[in-house]
Amino acid sequence: MDSTALVRFEETVLPHLDAAYTLARHLLRNEHDAEDVVQDAYLRAVRHFGGYRGGNVRSWLLMIVRHTCYSWLRRHKVDARSTEFDETVHGDLRIADDPEAQMLRGALREALDQAIEALPVAFREVVILRDVQGLSYGEIAEVVGIPVGTVMSRLSRARERLQRTLPVEDYGRN
């Protein structure tokens, strides 16, 4: 990498570090692992920067981050595929918190965090990319490597699961 490429990398790819960390943190559900994986993903990004030919740099980086996360999950025997769409396991997850505790300030945020963490990873990633990180369906399709129509149906199902986990009275007010 020559100095122009280095400057270009620092100007275009480094600013998306927070986005990379947010995605990794939610996919791995652990801060320490997220740091390791993001660092590894950036190493891959530097090495492949020569092959990057323009386009949406955030999507490009998040695609690498996602890929690195999945490799990590596979390596650590968290079988993403078997938990992905298993209705019997994930069909009726409910938050076990004391309902009164949830009335407390910040409890809604905690309940939401837990509900999102309980989603299978394929659903979790579309919710995070869309509702937390604000990507368009087209960008999500690019990051996840699925058609836009699949992004839409997967997001629908993910939100439906969240609604089942979180009773409407928990977030319905305001």
């Binding site: 927070d18 919710v127 996840v144 629908s156």
Partner: protein, 258 residues
Amino acid sequence: MSCETLSDKLSGYLDGELDERAAAEVEAHLRQCVTCSARLEQERRLRAAVQAHVPPLRAPERLRSNVRAMVRAQAKRARRRQTWLPTWAATAAALILGVAGGWQLATWRASQGDESDLAAQVVASHVRSLQGAHLTDIASSEHHTVKPWFAGKLDFSPPVADFTTEGFPLIGGRLDYLRERQVAVLVYGRRQHVINLFVWPSRDAGAAPSPVSRRGYHAVHGAAGGMAYWAISDLNEAELSQFAHLVAADLSHSTAQP
């Protein structure tokens, strides 16, 4: 539109991601369906709650400085390699030997190693090629134009065939990377579908076309005539398989008659 059909489009409607016609269809259904209207309202509240209470995170400072340092170290290392090469002939020769050895190792790994990782890279490259403006480096339906274009850009000469008579016209070619090695990509069309054909040298004596499915895309890969290939498209599996057999036959043929 039934409630069933609507359920998949509800998120798209809420997020303003439907085209006008689809949005109008959803609205028409919502006007007469209380259940779906209630569902939409619930989904709207849920989305608002997530957006309000689950904020994007900020990377820890330690990570920020580690990443920055790593990027700089990588750049420095790559620069050192570049300045060596032209200076000392002996070093250059040693490096070239190293590269050749590395390449053999890479192709060996490609044949032995984790095929799913390669599949993921092929899919990612296919998706990138369709979404960016970068499908081809050279756009031409003439294989006499496309083949010489690769000369000098690659350390091998990919066979370039036009399958127009079989219904797969050549659209063009580009360079791409798979497993950190440069590969040739030939782009073909089939009706409105695009097929990306990745080709690179392989020591694999030959492997019959075998199908793989990833994230809704079909791919067929194999090896013939000293080349490994991956064909990928959103085309149906049968037609893609037909295409792969044409490719395999052509690859065997082109080495038999150099």
